[in-house]
Symmetry: C3
Subunit: 203 residues, 3 copies
């Protein structure tokens, strides 16, 4: 189940990466590279930190999914773009899935709870962070609306449920946590929830 979710996350992040690359006027190979890094960069950093084999290196499936999704991104770019929300939806589904996949992978490799939650956030956000750094922009995660908070809270919910209800058959827990993150981020954008700036505190 997690494997399938992971592949869906790769798919939506690759489309999101290709659309971003088109926005920044890159050429076709640049688009595929950005799609690749956006989709697989967060998981790569997670696997490097865990000191385990990088997931995409031993499987054709991840790379094929990036190529297919990137190509669909090129072909249906105008249709996808005409709804500004499409981009947001892909990105939100992606961070929700990658957060939970990352937390679970941390647990699978015996990390402590707090580190597992951080690995979830890193899986979800570092692909986009690398994309922004490579495109010479201040990463989105530092600039705008609440972005990483839903990952941290959703990851904690998953982790709490995981320890409370045991290790077997927790597909429903997957769904609840992922839908929670999607709902949280969507509400955050609709209602413009923001964290206070550091300067506003104790000013």
């Amino acid at each position: 189940m997690l494997e399938l979710f992971d592949q869906i996350g790769v798919f939506v992040f690759a489309i999101s990466g290709m659309l971003t690359a088109a926005d920044r006027n890159l050429d076709l190979l640049g688009g595929y590279i950005i799609a690749f890094i956006t989709a697989l960069g967060g998981g790569t950093v997670r696997d490097l930190l865990l000191n385990v084999d990088i997931a995409w290196m031993s499987s054709l499936s991840h790379v094929v999914i990036v190529i297919v999704a990137g190509t669909l991104g090129v072909l249906f770019r105008k249709r996808l773009k005409s709804f500004r929300r499409t981009f947001f939806i892909f990105d939100t589904i992606g961070i929700a899935i990658f957060t939970i996949v990352g937390v679970q992978k941390g647990l699978d490799h015996g990390q402590i709870a707090l580190t597992a939650i951080f690995l979830g956030m890193i899986s979800a956000t570092f692909g986009g962070l690398l994309r922004d750094v490579l495109c010479n922009e201040i990463p989105l995660i530092f600039r705008k609306e609440i972005y990483a908070i839903p990952c941290l809270v959703g990851g904690s919910i998953y982790l709490g449920g995981y320890f409370l209800f045991g290790l077997d058959d927790h597909t429903w827990l997957l769904w609840i946590s992922i839908l929670f993150i999607i709902a949280f981020r969507t509400l955050a954008v609709i209602f413009s929830w923001k964290l206070p700036l550091i300067r506003e505190l104790n000013s």
Copy 2:
């Protein structure tokens, strides 16, 4: 002893990171992320290169120190800021400690002397380098006064003493090397010591 020094280094770098994030007008979570990366990024790169477990992942203490130090940075920001020197002092203590911790960790894992010195410099400077890259600035290390030279020289002194005087009880060597780096960098800033620009050589 080294462990305690390492935790002090994490503490001062996390404050330095939070103050920088406030300067760049980030929100609270952005501040904690920058504090985390400034404090633990150099050690993370060092541990990745050494192919050993990342220090902060298996211990709550590092993360707790970042959160406590970051919070103190928020609370006492104005008082800390009113002395421009405070920032400089924290940063200088941090690079001095991290250099020696990095050299020692390199030696502990059987690296050759030159690589151990490089690992010291990487431990000391890459947290700040990642912070600057993420904030979309040319890293400080490339822009201003002598920054990495004291790390290289101080690391070499530590390494020389370590091989000359043997492996046991070298707390005094720790102190001498750390104080040397602090003194070197402080003098470099006071007297505006600079390296020549490449263009000035052979011009």
Copy 3:
């Protein structure tokens, strides 16, 4: 043979890095750091992904080559600069060699063919990519003429030949693949071959 080629690649990339650093008006240590990262950054990322020992850490030779090449870059900077082509030639020889070294190293560690080709491209291009990110520019690889395509095609030729003609004594295959990449990139620059922009497709 591959070892020698690798060292030539490090040599030319270190010169290319020092010349770039001079262009960006860095000081001498900054120049050596950029030379180091340009020459050894791609291989470092490759080795991190492969989860093997980082090549330069256990050998003095790589570091010595960077220092010697960087110093030559400083001394003969004006003579090298007066031919704009020199820079291009060094860079092109470097990416050609590193591509094949990277593909071979991927095969040596049992990676699948596609991943081996990607590792070749990463070896060849990530040093320059890190250099550009650190100098706060959009990486060259995303901006200009065909850059990574010759690596992908040349790596595929090497891989095809490797599997077709067996594993022993393939020095001639090395030469053919490397010369192919150099020729491809040179022709691409002479004739201004470009990939289409994403926006031009399906517009």
